[in-house]
């Protein structure tokens, strides 16, 4: 009796000490709710229980074309991200380092950043076709602006005294960039890369869902129209996991490279 009470107390105590355990319990409760709802309350044409979704993941991957579609989407994401970061870094440096250009073009960049780009999605399809090119282009335009803005902000946050002292000690332009500007820009650059990654994900997936001939957008449409929620949920789950992993990778990199400043 006393032992059971003690065990219960230690269980509660353990839960109080470890919020992540409670978080897992919350997730488990939500999954259980979903399971019950799907099994007993909702039409199986619209929702299937998570157990069934997980069990049939292999069937999703077994569907002809799905692995290739995932690969294609991952390829689009990678290319779009690399392009967005490269273009954003170059433009951000040009805009951030020249005061006149910054004053002239930074407001334009901010205005474009605020625009709901999804309104011009049909234009991208017209210009770049329904293949991978339009997805990449749309991902780039979503990802490039956060990178530009953060790079400009990072260059601007540089203390002028550092530049003046570097110059007075006879640093060349390249040396100033390499040893003063670049290291100070790194933390905000990685913050921009993280924001750029979520932008690229949004852009590519929006374009995929809009029209697609071989990417995952094709299969989400197919599964929706066939009323096959098991496969649809499985595919979306895989994509969500992919998004979480990509975000986590960029975030790790950011924490890693921003560390020197806080120490």
């Amino acid at each position: 009796m006393a032992m059971a009470a003690a065990r219960r107390r230690s269980l509660l105590h353990g839960l109080a000490r470890r919020p992540w355990l409670a978080r897992l319990l919350v997730i488990a409760a939500l999954l259980a709710l979903w399971e019950v709802a799907a099994r007993f309350l909702v039409d199986p044409l619209f929702l299937s229980p998570p157990s069934q979704v997980i069990m049939s993941l292999d069937k999703v991957f077994g569907t002809r074309g799905v692995p290739a579609a995932l690969q294609l989407t991952l390829f689009e994401l990678t290319v779009a991200f690399v392009l967005a970061v490269a273009i954003g870094l170059a433009l951000g440096l040009v805009i951030g380092l020249q005061p006149l250009i910054r004053r002239s073009f930074f407001p334009i960049v901010l205005l474009l950043y605020c625009m709901p780009q999804v309104t011009i999605l049909p234009l991208f399809i017209l210009f770049f076709g329904i293949g991978a090119a339009s997805k990449i282009a749309f991902g780039v335009t979503h990802g490039v602006f956060p990178v530009i803005v953060t790079v400009v902000a990072g260059v601007q946050n540089l203390k002028p005294i550092l530049l003046v002292s570097a110059r007075s000690m006879g640093a060349s332009r390249w040396q100033m960039f390499r040893y003063v500007i670049f290291p100070h820009m790194v933390p905000s650059f990685f913050a921009g890369m993280r924001l750029g990654m979520s932008g690229v994900l949004l852009g590519v997936l929006l374009a995929e869902l809009y029209v697609s001939v071989a990417g995952i957008g094709y299969f989400t449409t197919l599964f929706t129209q066939n009323f096959d929620p098991t496969k649809l949920l499985g595919l979306i789950g895989v994509l969500a996991a992919m998004a979480i992993v990509l975000n986590a990778v960029v975030r790790r990199a950011e924490n890693h490279f921003a560390r020197w400043r806080t120490e």
């Binding site: 000490r17 470890r18 919020p19 992540w20 409670a22 978080r23 919350v26 619209f46 005061p99 006149l100 004053r103 002239s104 407001p107 901010l110 950043y113 605020c114 625009m115 709901p116 999804v118 309104t119 011009i120 049909p122 234009l123 017209l126 210009f127 956060p146 803005v149 953060t150 902000a153 540089l158 203390k159 002028p160 003046v164 933390p187 905000s188 913050a191 993280r194 979520s198 949004l202 997936l205 929006l206 869902l209 809009y210 989400t220 599964f223 929706t224 009323f227 929620p229 649809l232 979306i236 994509l239 969500a240 998004a243 979480i244 975000n247 986590a248 975030r251 921003a258 400043r261 806080t262």
Partner: protein
């Protein structure tokens, strides 16, 4: 990625201060002058309204410093530079339209890809004059209002309840942040499956997407109030109501307002987006419809119209946010 924050034995309420000091300089957001910006996939970063970094020292200024009229020089120079940048901006925009015009008339770019800007202008005037946009605009604004009302009430209520205990903050904040880092637009096919092609699926998706910035900012606002204020108010005998009205609410409202502004922007974006992807009515639907009918000039006109509406709405919301913070 979500675990490290919660594993520490110190509840976030006590650590809030020191973690802000180490925060990297946050980028300016869409609407400038935001206090706390929640970024996808992570805890919030506080950017104290730091003064803008002084501009780079200019050669002319340094040369003129020794001259007798040194005091008068900088101001004149600043106004000259401002005029120059305005001139460059205007020149850039005029050049863009000129290139567009030349490309569509002289250089033989296909009319189906790039219509004549004059035709677009005529169509825009026609749309505004005939009032044919009213039905679509109404649909979109109704969806937006419903979605934002749902996410704002849900997000603020849930955020307040969670923020009452450091333990619940530690449980839920990383969970919400992790979900916030997923592009929720992925779930659009499911929403369409559940709620159909009509406005219901847009409202549900918009509410689901804008819920997360609001709830995360509400937790951040109420949960990270400086303990000193709370203790001071309590020791002076403040009741629960007084504590809420005079300490918690004023401390939290700037952060919550930022969350509401971000929620509004994302709701607008996702509603127009989901109308573009799958719908029966609304501004996004109209654009896609015209694109499929290959009426390019009219489609461009609608794009200009929708962008103007979106920028206006976002500006209004940012103004409201700034005013709410000032009070």
């Amino acid at each position: 990625m979500a675990g490290n924050e919660a594993d520490s034995p110190v509840p976030p309420r006590f650590r809030a201060k020191q973690s802000h000091v180490a925060a990297p300089p946050s980028p300016p957001s869409c609407a400038e002058g935001s206090g706390v910006e929640v970024v996808p996939g992570g805890a919030f970063e506080a950017n104290s309204p730091a003064p803008p970094a002084p501009p780079f020292p200019k050669k002319k200024e340094r040369a003129g410093a020794a001259a007798p009229q040194a005091i008068a020089l900088p101001r004149k120079q600043v106004s000259v530079e401002r005029a120059a940048s305005r001139l460059i901006q205007a020149g850039f925009l005029v050049g863009l339209v000129a290139v567009w015009y030349l490309a569509s008339t002289r250089w033989g770019v296909n009319r189906l890809l790039l219509p004549n800007p004059l035709a677009v202008y005529d169509n825009l005037l026609d749309i505004l004059r005939s009032g044919e946009f009213i039905d679509d605009l109404e649909t979109t604004l109704e969806e937006l209002a419903a979605a934002f009302a749902l996410s704002a009430t849900g997000g603020i209520t849930l955020g307040y309840l969670i923020s009452r205990s450091p333990y619940w903050i530690a449980v839920f904040e990383p969970l919400f942040a992790a979900i916030y880092s997923i592009p929720i637009i992925l779930f659009l096919p499911l929403f369409v499956l559940f709620f159909g092609l009509g406005p219901a699926s847009k409202i549900a998706l918009g509410a689901a997407i804008s819920f997360f910035p609001i709830v995360i900012n509400t937790i951040a606002g109420f949960g990270h109030v400086d303990r000193l204020f709370v203790m001071a108010a309590r020791s002076m005998g403040a009741s629960d109501y007084h504590l809420f009205r005079h300490v918690l609410l004023p401390a939290a409202s700037p952060v919550i307002l930022t969350g509401l502004r971000m929620g509004f922007t994302t709701a607008l974006l996702s509603i127009i987006g989901s109308e573009t992807l799958a719908s029966l009515a609304g501004l996004g639907h109209r654009i896609v419809h015209l694109a499929e009918a290959m009426e390019m000039a009219r489609m461009f006109a609608y794009i200009v119209f929708v962008i103007a509406i979106a920028v206006t709405l976002n500006t209004i919301v940012s103004r409201l946010e700034a005013r709410g913070k000032r009070d």
